[in-house]
């Protein structure tokens, strides 16, 4: 039901039941907000979105106040502007002054507000917040001095990720955000997914920087510098650098990386294909043995840590196949090392991912061979963009180059795996092909491609009906549990921590709306439809790997390098 309200002396239409803010936004009137997150209920913590409503004694927050007919609102009166300005000045009064050194310089929401409100003078001086730098986690760094206590990270960790690793501690001006018992991050139940970093408005949470290390190694001449990147990275990089993305932008990226100084450029997609293949083999074995328990896909390292902490009873059901990044990494350190006739320690292997938890995964026990890590350093897409700029590469003007052999090609399944539900789909497609000799009709997977935190389906392959479930964001685990409790027995379960899959990973450029997410997913599905090679077993790189290279290298021909192990974790839950 529409009715009229008056805003800044103009009449606009508003719907009954909506908030003032949504009515204003629909009519193109923008007011600043800070603690607000779309799709989350408002908390009213920052008071930035206040507006003047005639008849009300105090200013009201637009994000929460429902519209009423014939409300007279002023969004930019003197009183409102003074209020907003003072609030930002109060925040700045105990904020550290090191914008120039901060990770979010030029991309910080507080900077933007300060500029928008034209704050040009330090009028209010205050005692600065106590400095505390927590670098204990391999993936995320906390700088408490920059925290403005908006509470977004806490809500995301609780409501989206369900691991509740963060909360406010103490009260009033002593409040700070911390983990259990106010210890450092590595003692807590944090699964390093990095979703909190995506929502933090300032530089209080950011990724651990590997860019310095990488730059150092790039200057060494007696080391082979190898780099791998996952299929979604080119799209992300194009977005970060502000250039138009084209379907074969990855070829440009190869050239850019070589210009920076990397000797070898590989695609993680080859590893993804191996991963899909090995998981398919495991699943086929389970089906033959008529296994009672489902097989969980473990390509998501945050999910693995979550399972090891919160549901250790599931550990026997986790697939022991390593994640794509680690597989590509170990192949570099074994096969490539052999081809180049160097020792594994002479290779510095970097991986670029959309994921934060991969930084943690590279350090896991079980991700090394003979004391050498599979992957030496992991960078997020944002970090790679910084590295490209740092080296002054003219990225608008590059050639198209292929990646290096033997890890140069991938099937479209490898790209599909980065969307939630994609990995499960790829595994089943491969099994179908192996069983029937034909490629499956993708329409069968319709149910797995909808947008919901929990989706399941039954796919008929040969004589077996394979029940598959996809958990998209850890809030779906509840639904999985109740489905299993009511008797459904699944054969294959894919769990992704980041809602939407890796395309919404903690290492990608910050997205502002669900539309962005849908667009990214759509791009992946399109490339899956249009690329020539859909199945891993048809990819030349894969064929080369399995038929020739693995057989040639006796040491690794048992494929044990593709597998890892898990253990229960003792953390404060």
């Amino acid at each position: 039901m529409l009715f009229t309200i008056q805003v800044n002396n103009k009449k606009i239409k508003a719907e009954k039941g909506e908030t003032i803010l949504s009515a204003l936004n629909r009519n193109g009137i923008i007011i600043p907000t800070l603690c607000r997150m779309k799709e989350f209920t408002p908390t009213g913590a920052c008071r930035m979105c206040v507006v003047e409503v005639e008849g009300k004694e105090r200013l009201v927050t637009a994000c929460s106040q429902p519209v009423e007919e014939w409300m007279k609102i002023k969004t930019h009166s003197q009183r409102v502007i003074t209020a907003r300005k003072t609030i930002v000045e109060l925040l700045l009064s105990n904020h550290p002054d090191d914008c120039l050194y901060c990770d979010r310089n030029l991309k910080c929401e507080l900077q933007r507000l300060s500029e928008e409100l034209n704050i040009r003078e330090r009028r209010i001086k205050g005692r600065k917040i106590k400095q505390r730098l927590d670098q204990s986690s391999p993936a995320i760094v906390r700088e408490l001095a920059k925290c403005i206590l908006c509470g977004r990270c806490i809500r995301v960790c609780e409501e989206v990720i369900t691991s509740t690793s963060l909360d406010f501690i103490n009260r009033g001006s002593q409040t700070h955000v911390g983990a259990a018992m106010d210890r450092d991050f590595n003692f807590s139940s944090c699964i390093h997914c990095g979703q909190c970093v995506l929502v933090c408005p300032t530089g209080a949470l950011h990724e651990k920087h590997n860019i310095t290390e990488v730059q150092e190694y790039l200057n060494k001449h007696d080391i082979i510098k190898a780099i791998q990147y996952s299929p979604v990275v080119p799209a992300g990089i194009a977005g970060e650098l502000g250039i138009k993305y084209s379907r074969d932008f990855d070829k440009n990226l190869n050239a850019i990386l070589r210009k920076i100084g990397f000797d070898k450029v590989y695609t993680t997609g080859t590893g993804t294909d191996v991963c899909i293949n090995e998981v398919a083999l495991q699943l086929s074995e389970n089906i033959e043995k008529k296994a009672d328990k489902p097989l969980f896909i473990t390509a998501c390292p945050a999910w693995v840590k979550y399972a090891e902490q919160f549901v250790p009873t599931l550990i026997p059901q986790l697939s022991t196949v390593k994640s794509p990044q680690q597989i590509t990494g170990i192949l570099i350190k074994t096969i490539v090392a052999g081809q180049l006739d160097v020792k594994p320690e002479q290779i510095f292997s970097v991986s670029v991912t959309p994921c934060m938890a991969m930084k943690y995964e590279a350090r896991r026990d079980g991700m090394m061979r003979k004391g050498i890590s599979d992957v030496d350093s992991v960078m997020t897409v944002r970090e790679l963009a910084k590295l490209i700029r740092l080296n002054g590469i003219d990225f608008t003007n590059t050639e198209k180059e292929p990646a290096d052999e033997p890890l140069s090609g991938r099937s479209s399944s490898a790209a599909l795996a980065e969307v939630s539900g994609g990995m499960a789909e790829s595994v089943l497609r491969l099994i179908y092909y192996r069983t029937t000799g034909k490629e499956i009709d993708k329409q069968v997977f319709k149910k797995l491609r909808v947008s919901a935190t929990f989706r399941d389906s039954a796919i008929l392959i040969g004589e077996n009906e394979i029940k598959v479930a996809v958990v998209d964001g850890l809030t779906g685990l509840e639904k999985l549990r109740s489905a299993q409790a009511s008797g459904t027995k699944y054969d294959l379960i894919e769990v992704m921590t980041c809602p939407g899959g890796c395309i919404h990973g903690g290492g990608l450029p910050f997205i502002t709306s669900k539309e962005d997410l849908k667009n990214r997913a759509r791009m992946v599905y399109q490339s899956d439809d249009n690329e020539a090679i859909a199945l891993p077993c048809k990819s030349p790189s894969m064929i080369n790997l399995y038929e020739k290279l693995l057989k040639e290298n006796i040491e690794i021909s048992d494929k044990s390098i593709f597998f890892t192990h898990f253990e229960k974790r003792n953390v404060l839950l």
Binding site: S163, T164, S165, L166, D167, F168, I169, N170, R171, G178, A179, A180, M181, D182, S188, S189, L572, L573
Partner: protein, 156 residues
């Protein structure tokens, strides 16, 4: 201590979130403070993360995380006692014991808290020493009082 914890947890067998604060209050009354172990056990019992419980407990004044001293002082800092000079008493105690409110001395002997309005407004400044009221305290009397209490602790 773990056995006492079991007894207390059994009383709240339904394990609802509304029981969290009374449960913590009972544990605090029993042990004098909330240990890490007790917080983790409570979390397990109610299905809440340790982070949330710790965050809640640090919000309120009543909960301590280190044991209180053998002598625990409560200094009234209500309006009337303030006007009668409780600020200088607090400053003097901070000087003598070298701890802040909520902390305990290293030897475990003393701890103190600042509270509002114990109810003896006409007889202020009022302090409580291990539950016993002492009235009309002056800042000059504080050093002698601390010495006397130290003597009592040493000879207990």
């Amino acid at each position: 201590m773990a056995a006492d914890l079991d007894i207390i947890l059994k009383k709240y067998k339904h394990g609802r979130r509304e029981d969290l604060i009374p449960l913590l209050q009972e544990i605090q009354a029993e042990n004098g403070y909330l240990s890490e172990e007790s917080i983790v056990r409570v979390g397990g019992h109610l299905g809440l993360s340790t982070t949330k419980i710790f965050g809640l407990a640090t919000f309120y004044d009543q909960f301590r995380f280190i044991p209180s001293g053998k002598v625990h002082l409560k200094i009234c800092h209500g309006t009337s006692c303030f006007m009668n000079g409780s600020q200088s008493i607090i400053d003097k105690i901070k000087e003598e014991l070298k701890i802040s409110p909520g902390q305990t001395t290293r030897n475990g002997n003393f701890s103190f808290d600042i509270v509002t309005c114990l109810g003896g407004c006409f007889h202020g400044p009022v302090i409580m020493v291990n539950g016993e009221y002492q009235i009309h305290i002056r800042a000059e009397q504080v050093p002698a009082l601390i010495t006397k209490l130290k003597f009592i602790i040493d000879n207990d």
